[in-house]
């Protein structure tokens, strides 16, 4: 284990990797700061650059974009009250009032410092947790690996969706489409004799169609930038002073970062939920809650620390179980699949040295975020005023060309359109997109595992009930599925008694 830890460090100590980290973080900050361009879309846009790369630089580059984008949104949230990405909404609660009071630079410093330190805590958590997690998931055999897909869906059902039936319909449909193609036994399913589908549904076009197109369409009806707003020129000294202020709120910061890691680890919750929970926690436990929302540094600390540290939690879930938490991690799983890695419980153990390399890079990225953010703060006024009108065709063209570049196949790009329409309908009628994508990712795994089980144990399915981990996964799924039902019932009872 320690050998892997240090060989991982050795792997990333090269100029090339540092170049990827540097550009990645910078691109992430810019993408995060531009309203309408989220980190997930940015990762999808730069995914084609990693087709030819090896696993390590590819992951380092994409995760650097992820890290950068978690802070980028704070710039516009603080300075002009338009969060660059949804996760920065809580930052605007106190950040913008600070700007109105003339303390915008200080708010920027606070957000930057708590964001960088939050990312650092997330990376440290990953470093410590990844080895035990890998060891634990090593105990997962065919039955457990089969159950993971359903566990993921049940978590989403209990957390994300308003309606569990819709979550499961979207997820099961994803699983069904995931089984299209050649089965492990060699039989063809759902291909209609079309050789294009032989290897299964092309994952990247489906993923990007379902995630990116609805976001692009969403942009059409939105106008983020108010043009008469002027971004005040930040002051270097004030930013540093703000950064130092974070250390006055050590306990709040640590609490927020822990909330971020924990909530980030849950699928479908993600960084937006993490920041809101953390902000509410800070508000509820504060000695002067009345000051929250009027421009108080603690509010910014709580929001940004949780926002950036949630990345660590979501990456842990993605690596350990293959369950994506949101669009960013889903595209990262796509990048892993391109590298020939198979998402799921065996992933950590198969590639432990590369993963340690990636985690070291995460650590450096967190440190890199601070100086790069500092530089960006002075450039922000020139970058963030990109109008959404220009953004829509540019994102579309980049994504279309990027998908074409994957296999040099125009069919892949055509597939984006039906999936885009489907994603748009799903979003409109409250079907969680992440459930569908989870099914698509874990469907093939669940399918090949259950075929293996049937062959290994000759159709004796009581094996699911003979293994302790498998039993606890089943029980956990059932509890998670039943939770929303109970919640609905209790809220109905409340309504009746009112």
């Amino acid at each position: 284990m320690e050998a892997d830890l240090f060989s991982g460090l050795g792997m990333i100590l090269s100029w090339r990797i540092f170049f990827y980290m540097f550009t990645g973080v910078l691109l992430g900050i810019i993408a995060g700061a531009i309203p309408g361009l989220t980190g997930g879309i940015a990762i999808a846009m730069f995914l084609p650059f990693t087709y030819e790369m090896q696993a390590l630089p590819s992951l380092v580059f994409l995760l650097a974009i992820f890290t950068g984008s978690t802070w980028g949104g704070a710039v516009t949230a603080i300075l002009i009250n338009t969060p660059g990405s949804p996760a920065s909404a809580a930052t605007a609660f106190d950040g913008y009032p600070m700007t109105q009071k003339g303390m915008g630079s200080r708010a920027l410093g606070i957000s930057l410092c708590s964001s960088a330190l939050g990312a650092l805590i997330g990376a440290l958590f990953l470093m410590i947790a990844i080895e035990p997690l890998g060891r634990f998931t090593l105990k997962f055999h065919a039955p457990e690996r089969f159950l993971i897909a359903f566990l993921g869906l049940s978590i989403i059902a209990s957390l994300g969706g308003k309606n569990p039936a819709k979550v499961f319909l979207a997820g099961l449909w994803g699983i069904l489409l995931g089984t299209v193609g050649m089965a492990p036994t060699g039989a063809l399913r759902g291909t209609f004799g079309w050789s294009y589908l032989l290897d299964g549904f092309p994952f990247i076009p489906a993923l990007i169609g379902v995630f990116a197109i609805p976001e692009i369409l969403n942009l059409m009806n939105k106008r983020f930038i108010v043009h008469d707003q002027v971004i005040p020129r930040p002051s270097f000294r004030e930013i540093i002073r703000g950064a130092a202020k974070v250390f006055q709120h050590k306990y709040l910061f640590i609490k927020s970062a822990i909330i971020g890691v924990g909530v980030g680890a849950l699928p479908a919750a993600g960084s937006t939920v993490a920041t809101l929970i953390s902000y509410n926690q800070a508000y509820a436990t504060s000695r002067h809650p009345e000051k929250y929302g009027t421009g108080i540094g603690e509010g910014v600390v709580a929001a940004e620390a949780a926002n950036s540290s949630s990345e660590g939690g979501s990456v842990a879930t993605m690596l350990a179980l293959g369950i994506p938490g949101g669009m960013g991690t889903a595209v990262l799983i796509g990048a892993l699949i391109i590298q020939g890695w198979i998402p799921g419980p065996k992933l950590i153990w198969d590639h432990l040295d590369v993963i340690y390399g990636v985690l070291w890079a995460e650590l450096f990225q967190a440190i890199l975020l601070f100086p790069l953010g500092l530089i960006f703060a002075f450039w922000a006024s020139k970058i963030v005023f990109v109008s959404t009108r220009i953004l829509i065709p540019i994102i579309s063209v980049t994504i279309a060309t990027g998908i074409f570049a994957f296999h040099n196949n125009l069919w892949d790009v055509f597939l984006v359109i039906p999936f885009g329409i489907i994603g748009w309908c799903m979003k409109k009628y409250n079907y969680p997109l992440i459930a569908f994508v989870l099914g698509l990712i874990l469907g093939p795994m669940a399918d090949s595992e259950i075929i293996r089980i049937s062959q290994l144990y000759a159709g004796n399915y009581s094996i699911f009930l003979q293994r302790p981990i498998s039993i606890s996964l089943i029980i956990l799924s059932i509890i998670l599925i039943l939770l929303p039902v109970f919640r609905m019932r209790s809220s109905k009872v409340n309504r009746n008694t009112e």
Binding site: Y51, I394, G402, I450, I451
Partner: protein, 167 residues
């Protein structure tokens, strides 16, 4: 997308939009089902697919019934004018909200059809131009410069830097 049907004292609110996704799911699932009907060794090859198909059918029926046909007793408090008001706002919203995305998808499709015919650079130029026009960009300077720069940069990055053979 919303219609009301009254049967006695019950009012059924038809919310056809809710039916779109379950119907897509049911149709594709049916296609899948017919494709794998004659598969060899179904007890192994369809081990996962069969229960999944069954669950999909059950869930989509449930959603179709519960969400598309919102059954409610036509009470006195949420009577006629409330429903009318809802209809009016629907009509105002549906026009522009549907038109632009549909146009966008059509342009996207056209872009992909044209790409092998007239090349990546020219089709990208035309696509960006038309999408900008669709989004009410009317300044002719922007309408020329943005597509030109975009198609140039995208072509340069993918063709030169990444070595992709673009049509």
């Amino acid at each position: 997308m919303k219609k009301d049907v009254k049967i006695g004292q019950w009012a059924i609110k038809l919310n056809l939009g809710e039916a779109i996704f379950p119907l897509i799911v049911v149709v594709t699932t049916a296609l899948y089902f017919f494709d794998v009907r004659d598969i060899g060794k179904p007890s192994v090859n369809l081990l996962l697919a069969r229960p999944v198909i069954l669950l999909i059918v059950v869930l989509s029926m449930y959603i179709l019934i519960v969400f598309t046909l919102q059954l409610s007793k036509s009470g006195k408090h949420n009577g006629e004018h409330n429903v009318k008001g809802e209809k009016k706002t629907e009509e105002i919203n549906t026009g522009p909200k549907w038109k632009k995305p549909v146009m966008y998808f059509t342009l996207f499709l056209l872009y992909l059809f044209l790409m092998p015919l007239i090349g990546h650079m020219i089709s990208t130029f035309l696509f960006v131009l038309s999408v900008l026009y669709l989004l009410n960009e009317r300044g002719w300077k922007k309408l020329m410069i943005v597509p030109l720069i975009t198609s140039g940069i995208v072509y340069f990055v993918f063709s030169m830097l990444l070595g992709v053979q673009l049509p």
